[in-house]
Symmetry: C2
Subunit: 660 residues, 2 copies
């Protein structure tokens, strides 16, 4: 049912896009440039709007604080000791602490590609030089093994994370080279990759070790290195690693992705981040080589994961124990693990799938994850982090402290998540849009300039929107080939029940718009100044789950647009949240609150506090006894976007709300 258009947002500011030092053109992100991809990624110039704000917090606060935090935690110290420029013992609790440095370098590199920043550039130069100085003459580098294990190598592949760290180094080097055009770090990465290639190989290859790392990561990095250098050996090595999982080289545990080969797997399992990084690599390989079996496995596992193992926030990983996927439909609330790194890995994998297949649903999941289970991982001020992202904090919760706390923390003992957030946030512009021979595809609605070329002719569209607060998205053609039609494809989000779109003088709604598999495809001869206004229906939704999701039986979640909402105790004085009930017979209202949490649209619903009869000492009773009519205390429930939770006072929180 079409609705009258609301205020159409202004176009984004026309300030010329910022440009990084040393960059010679649009910075490309690796995934998806392979021969078998349906789509090619397009780097977007963000301007104004929701994500630009988040990106600026990342650029101005999170990323600049990195070197100081890596200094305090000892990561840089370890590299200096290995380089011989400092003395002391290894600092840190885990064998993968080097990877925090590399992830930060990657984030800073993407950052430098967008924005001049002399101080940041100096930090990057200094730390790149330190990494280069720490590298062994044969290319190896891992401070844990060099300082604590007497230089022993590749003897503890299950837990040692040597190739995992190498992978993050390689990925950082690719970013650094793409962003700055400089090759100091890429040279380090190539030496390390060549070393790894000289050591690892299948039986009969003459290489000394037939093995894989307990934590996938080097595989995607090697594909990226292949893309950056053209050296086919790196692609082959990635393929070798991916196919050696599942053969018992690591003891056969699902935790390490070693229970079953990916090509035979029927469901995601084990440690969530490991599973997702491995699947991203499999997708990269399918994209580069056309391997149909790997593609089919990736499609199959993505479908299994989203159908039965994904929280409504896009969060992944049901178990604290082993940080793993649980059983199908096992999606707990207070014990949802939903590691921030898993949300990032999910976005990285889904984007590769989107580019490989051209299908919109992958970007549906990316949108959901970006706005909810990923963004919750960093505080609004960019200074504090969540490692786990539960969907509930109970009244009377005892905070365990440590990394798995539901309270934001300045840094973690296992600090994998913060620099991972930084690198995704700094490269966010690569996950938003794509092109193919026939036109442009807008996957995410972010204010900015979307530019590419069609067979050599420039094409550009600007997007102006107050999304996700408002549903109106104004697109203006800036450049277009004059001589031929092309297709502007707009993703109609999976959550969207109604929309209207105005193209020139024509207005469509869901009943007559040309939507195919989630894409609204507008093919015509476009001219500069042509204007399209898409308006997505933004009524709040009360969402239920498949009845097999036992954890949320008899509950609804509030959603609006791409945002999942939650209640926080701080907005409901006079009690906790666990006795609250939402009244689903009265439609929720929407209230924008510019004063609140940096400006959020709240959803206000009717509800009440349940009167809970005195239980005595035993909280279970026969069903008949529980049917007594329930005196209700009416109450207004104020829901805020989930991503913004835990930015005020500690207290309870709920995404899923009982309906009776």
């Amino acid at each position: 049912m079409p609705r009258p258009p609301s205020t159409v947002p202004p176009p984004p500011s026309s300030a010329s896009p910022e440009r990084g030092h040393g960059s010679t053109g649009p910075v490309r992100l690796g995934p998806g440039t392979g021969a078998h991809a349906a789509l090619t990624p397009l780097a977007v110039e963000l301007r104004d709007g929701f994500w630009n704000t988040r990106r600026q917090v990342n650029a101005r606060t999170s990323v600049p604080q990195g070197p100081g935090l890596l200094e305090s935690a000892g990561n840089l110290h370890n590299l200096r000791v290995v380089a011989g420029t400092a003395e002391g013992e290894f600092k840190g609790a885990y064998p993968f602490v080097d990877s925090d440095v590399y992830k930060w370098l990657e984030a800073a590199s993407w950052q430098l590609a967008q924005q001049e920043d002399e101080a940041l550039a100096a930090d990057v130069d200094r730390i790149v030089a330190l990494v280069a100085a720490a590298q062994q003459s044969d290319g190896y580098l891992n401070t844990w093994f060099q300082l604590l294990k007497g230089g022993e190598r590749y003897k503890d592949l299950r837990w040692g994370h040597e190739l995992y760290c190498a992978g993050h180094l390689i990925q950082a080097a690719v970013a650094h080279h793409r962003a700055t055009g400089r090759s100091e770090l890429l040279d380090v990465a190539r030496r390390f990759a060549d070393h790894v290639d000289s050591v690892f190989g299948p039986p009969g290859s003459g290489k000394p070790v037939d093995g894989i790392d307990g934590h996938p990561e080097i595989e995607t990095a090697l594909v990226e290195l292949y893309r950056e250098t053209g050296e086919h050996r790196y692609l082959d090595l990635a393929g070798y690693f991916v196919d050696r999982f599942g053969h018992g080289l690591l003891g056969g545990e699902a935790y390490c992705q070693d229970r079953v080969p990916l090509r035979e797997a029927t469901d995601v399992e084990g440690h969530a981040v490991r599973q997702l990084y491995l699947l991203a690599a499999a997708t990269d390989l399918a994209t580069e080589t056309g391997d149909g079996e790997l593609r089919a496995a990736a499609e199959r596992l993505w479908a299994a994961m989203t159908a039965a193992k994904t929280h409504v926030t896009g969060g992944l990983g049901a178990h604290h124990d082993e940080e793993d996927f649980g059983d199908p439909y096992e999606l707990p609330n207070e014990r949802a693990y939903c590691e921030t790194c898993a949300a990032i890995a999910s976005i990285q994998w889904s984007w590769r799938m989107a580019l490989l297949t051209g299908e919109a649903r992958y970007s549906d999941l990316i949108e959901r994850t970006l706005y909810n289970g990923f963004l919750s991982g960093v505080s609004l001020d960019g200074e504090r982090w969540l490692y786990v992202n539960p969907l509930q904090v109970r009244d009377g919760h005892t905070d365990p402290g440590g990394d798995q706390s539901a309270r934001r923390t300045r840094w973690f003992r296992c600090a994998c998540c913060p620099p991972n957030v930084m690198r995704l946030m700094a490269s966010l512009q690569h996950y938003l849009a794509s092109a193919d021979a026939g036109g442009l595809q807008i996957h995410q609605y972010v204010s900015g300039r979307y530019a590419g070329d069609l067979a050599g002719t420039p094409v550009a569209v600007t997007v102006g929107t107050d999304y996700p607060w408002q549903g109106a998205i104004a697109l203006t053609v800036e450049e277009s080939p004059a001589d031929r039609p092309w297709t502007l494809s707009l993703r109609v989000p999976q959550w969207c029940r109604d929309f209207r779109i105005q193209v020139g003088e024509t207005v469509y709604d869901r009943s007559d718009a040309p939507v195919t598999d989630g894409w609204l495809r507008l093919e015509r001869s476009w001219a500069p100044g042509d204007r399209v206004v898409l308006e997505l229906g933004m009524e709040p939704r009360l969402t239920t789950a498949d009845p097999r999701v036992d954890a949320v039986r008899g509950c609804v979640a509030i959603e609006r647009g791409p945002l999942v909402y939650c209640l926080e105790q701080v907005d409901h004085p006079g009690g906790g949240l666990d006795d609250m009930v939402i009244d689903t017979t009265r439609p929720p209202a929407v209230k924008h609150r510019p004063d609140l949490l940096g400006g959020v649209t709240t959803v206000v619903a009717a509800g009440h506090r349940r009167h809970i009869p005195e239980a005595g000492w035993w909280p279970y009773r026969t069903a008949e006894g529980a049917e007594a009519p329930e005196p209700a205390e009416p109450l207004e429930l104020t829901a805020i976007p989930y991503y913004a939770w835990a930015n005020r006072r500690d207290g309870s929180m709920r995404v899923w709300l009982p309906t009776s």
Copy 2:
């Protein structure tokens, strides 16, 4: 509402009770003999019936298999190496493997008190001699530290389990002495206890170490040793240990019970077994010393635990991670940890509370735990074990293998539970009844002979019953003082909604029976041959939970008498369990199945398989869309007692059943 009495069961067989070798009278269990206890425990001679069968399986299968299993796992080997009679390295994965040996010795000792068994006695003698030979000259013994840590002592109290192991050795020695009258093991225990007493003490005591063990256990054992020897130093040492928890000696973690002193605690927290053993010790101390503050803490924490942290099976411990209690009302099903050892610890603590206070509710929880969350820990054949006792196994469950598997296992890497089950099963007769100056109290309805004395005059009652399958319990006075009235107290279970009782010619029901705080108290002049028939209403119950128990919203559990029921996939061919719905409008029926699972009464309920609409790739949808009428496929649901699950084919299982 009284019902006509069903068939009254015959009295138990009149065979003279079995008597252990070397025993000179009824074997007493320590807890409860203290000066401040309201009640004194009474050892019951079990005859026929439900628990006698389970006890015989323990005696004939589980306990005799112990030495072979301890041999295979390396526990006995370690002791031989320390004793110098074998060579080799330490075997086993944990510093507490010695305790498995001691728990087995305790079980075997209780067993020998009830039943002549030359082979078992020889095994006990052999292993007692081995333990004595392994003890250091100054009393210390711990094979992990002696073999792996170069004899280093008390440097890793948080994780080392040295005093924990000492505690189990002491407890075994007390049992051995009580059961056999022999003192070889008691001498070992005293030497160890004297050594510990020479090392540990508060600042200013002149003792070298002010410390506690990360896992409580020695505290109850020391109280027992005090009871057995009369040596007050052991009681004082127990008191010192109990009061040093909560002061940061172990780093202040809740896991180790070190976050807050017990006297100030307001809720149970941390590792469940540690919490429960510590509370048992606090109760022992209150019983012996009259310490009102410790008693109040124990009462407060028991009430908090049962009101918000106990599963309907009596199982305790919500988290796999750290094996700990969760938040209030956090009671998951598939991830219920409910360690078998925690059920045992709960029974041990609650029995101490029952004796200290005389209150019936503690035995209500014991009954619930015995028949459900404890008994599920051992297979019907006594040969396989569960470490965790979940309330749900999902369709499509991936078994993680290892100790936390929901499939029964022959032995565990961490084998704490099996010998713990053996020792509780072998001492079960001590947890059933009590006496005070005014009469006898029957806490649990188990066929057998309940004998004590009232001011020196023998008093005895026999109980005959087919409980828990039938509700009729026939009590016959066998011996009684002729000259004065006394009170026969019968516990009316917390779950019981109606009953009738016939005393001589008088029949009472719930409306007019003299029930006070769960006790039906019959005071009169009893004569041999007097007969009481209590008949508990055994209609199946559909049970709901406090609405704050989110995990079971919209569900009921089937209960009958003291038994919690569950569905198993094997009884429902043609599909899984996760799409099943119970119809609560039709009362369930009862069907005794002598052929099934050793003879169980099943509960048959009406239900259907839910038609689950095709979800596409995303399992969440707007509430309106989910309201479509649901084609139902009617189905008969067959529920079996929870304790008997996982004794047939692997498959899914559910305790809580959705109602719509």
